[in-house]
Amino acid sequence: MSTATPLLEARAVSRHFSVTIAQGWKRNQRSVQAVDAVDIALHPGETLGLVGESGCGKTTLSRLLLGLEAPTGGAVYFRGRDLATASRDELREFRRSVQPVFQNPYSSLDPRMKVGSIVGEPLRVGGASRQEAAAKVAQALERVGLTASDTTRYPHEFSGGQRQRVAIARALACSPQLIVLDEAVSSQDISIRAQILNLLKDLQAELGLAYLFVAHDLATVRYMSQRVAVMYLGRIVELASSDALYDHPEHPYTRALLSACLPDDPDAPVPTDMLSGELPSPLAPPTGCHFHTRCPIAVDACKAAAPELRVIGSSQLVRCIKVPETSHSNV
């Protein structure tokens, strides 16, 4: 684990939303804790995977890391500088270095703009001249497998997979150091998904990019990531290297998630320990450990207080009081 200043870091970051629930004539103000005191760090050149089901907060966390939303608690640091108090130049540098790619290629591209303008927008806003931008745009398009002549075409002339490439080209155009991929391949067909994942890996090798890979498909996350964080109702419940997490999951939720995954082939044994119950609503999260209502090994202490993230073995972080520090699975 690197001890150098991380590229992008969240320290005790929280984000809550006020929601007004109408019940007949009454209107109740409730607070949804979408992200609850999360610590996460991203280092140059590595891919961190972020997984979880609906309501876990992974999308909100990625938006906080992108600066699209301000945290209601804690802070986000870029190269050690707090984004909330950064200067204009520092913010510009941050935006150049950290770029997003979102899930839906149909709503990521402005239908009224030409591809060249779309890909060049971050450059132009960042102060680049028309010529500089045009050169970098052409280069970015070539890198993702499109051609420089595509700059004059409109989004509707491209298929979903090609549009996603345009979105990636836009992220690449200002030579970033980190790309946040929020379900970037989830809505693509299998063959297009494979093409784009291969492309992302190639780009990472060629340009030394770091990725924050947010997804719900665990197999894809394993394929792409060196480290993986699992979230449940706003908290990180486990954080470990990819191999450690998938081969020796410690947290009961991680185990349940992995066993619920559909098999790679029909001969795989059907798991018997199915997780029961529904995902609790973020409006009314369970007390103490959020997972205790569905956890197969929960005890009374789990309801009382929220557990801390502890180090298990060499470098696996787990948020569970029932997992011993010297777990047998860590050599």
Partner: protein
């Protein structure tokens, strides 16, 4: 072995555009036996959903859509049935579950009423009897607190619950065949596992056959006995599920399965297929997969390959099938 319950023979679904007819489903044939689960797998645009809809003649009724071929359910051709007969078939013998539970349920009626409506279509029932049957249907899909939940409205339920209610409506009249079109795509992983488990139990209880239309090979691996792979409106391979995964004979199937990341260790690169599927207006002559096939030969571009039987229950539409 008795005759298959459902026999689809040379099904074509096309629509008229200007002066030509374009086919979304082009000469599709398969069988479903009593109690078995058949998977219909392919990427978007391959025609699998249209095929599922055509089995109950639910394809859009625009005046330029046409259905050709035969869909024989227990010997009777669905495509040439009279409206009355078709109405008694739908929802009773053959039922359907769709992808989006949000739009499958009517938001202004409570779920008890919607299940009752499903039951009422096919059997007479008085008030108390109906209530009992509704509660029973909710219990069958393992919805807790069935009595109080029956009065709930769709927006008060989670996605997983809604999908179960949709399932309850679909199985209320004990169908012989359930067509499920991507029913778990919008569900979370753990909820999806519960739901698929439920479907398997329901199938065991009533010996119901299922047709799973999906793009997810994981669903196929878990749920299906046999699989048909579709590409550009045609079935390119039919096999037992194990044979498909271990010994895929069609190059498209192999490339597709090779392009899926595995939960276990993966190789450095995923298999990928360059290009994209042809549009109905631009179907290539010869094999439809030829432009993208890693094993293409001259014959493939000139002549459309026939369907050849290469093993017990294993057929493939290819001139030079892959031998593992």
């Amino acid at each position: 072995m008795s005759a298959p319950m459902l026999q689809v023979k040379n099904l074509r679904v096309g629509w008229r555009r200007d002066d030509q007819v374009l086919y979304a489903v082009d000469d599709v044939s398969f069988d479903i036996n009593v109690g078995e689960t058949l998977g219909l797998v392919g990427e978007s645009g391959c025609g699998k959903s249209t095929t599922g809809l055509a089995l109950m003649r639910l394809t859009p009724r625009a005046n330029d859509t046409q259905l050709e071929g035969q869909v024989l359910f227990e010997g009777r051709n669905v495509l040439s049935m009279r409206d009355q007969e078709l109405r008694s078939l739908r929802g009773r013998d053959i039922s359907m579950v769709l992808q989006d539970p949000m739009t499958s349920l009517n938001p202004v009626f409570n779920i008890g009423d919607q299940i009752a409506e499903g039951i009422r279509q096919h059997s007479a029932s008085n008030g108390t009897d109906m209530r009992g049957r509704v509660i029973d249907a909710l219990r069958r899909v393992r919805i807790p607190d069935a009595e109080s939940r029956a009065r709930a409205y769709p927006h008060q339920l989670s996605g997983g619950m809604k999908q179960r209610v949709v399932g309850a409506v679909a199985i209320a009249s004990q169908p012989k065949l359930l067509i499920a079109d991507e029913p778990t795509t919008s569900l979370d992983v753990t909820i999806q596992a519960q739901y698929l488990n439920l479907l398997k139990e329901l199938q065991r209880e009533s010996n119901m056959a299922m047709l799973f239309v999906t793009h997810d090979f994981g669903v196929v691996a878990r749920m299906c006995n046999r699989v048909c792979v579709m590409y550009a409106g045609q079935i390119v391979e039919t096999a037992l599920v194990r044979d498909l995964f271990k010994r895929a004979a069609h190059w498209y199937t192999a490339a597709l399965i090779g392009g899926i990341p595995k939960l276990g260790r993966n190789s450095e690169r995923l298999a990928s297929i360059q290009g994209s599927p042809p549009r109905p207006e631009e179907m290539p002559t010869g094999c439809r997969f030829a432009p993208r096939c890693p094993n293409v030969q001259a014959r493939c571009r000139e002549q459309s390959p026939p369907v050849v039987k290469i093993d017990h229950a294993h057929e493939v539409r290819c001139w030079f099938p892959r031998t593992a």
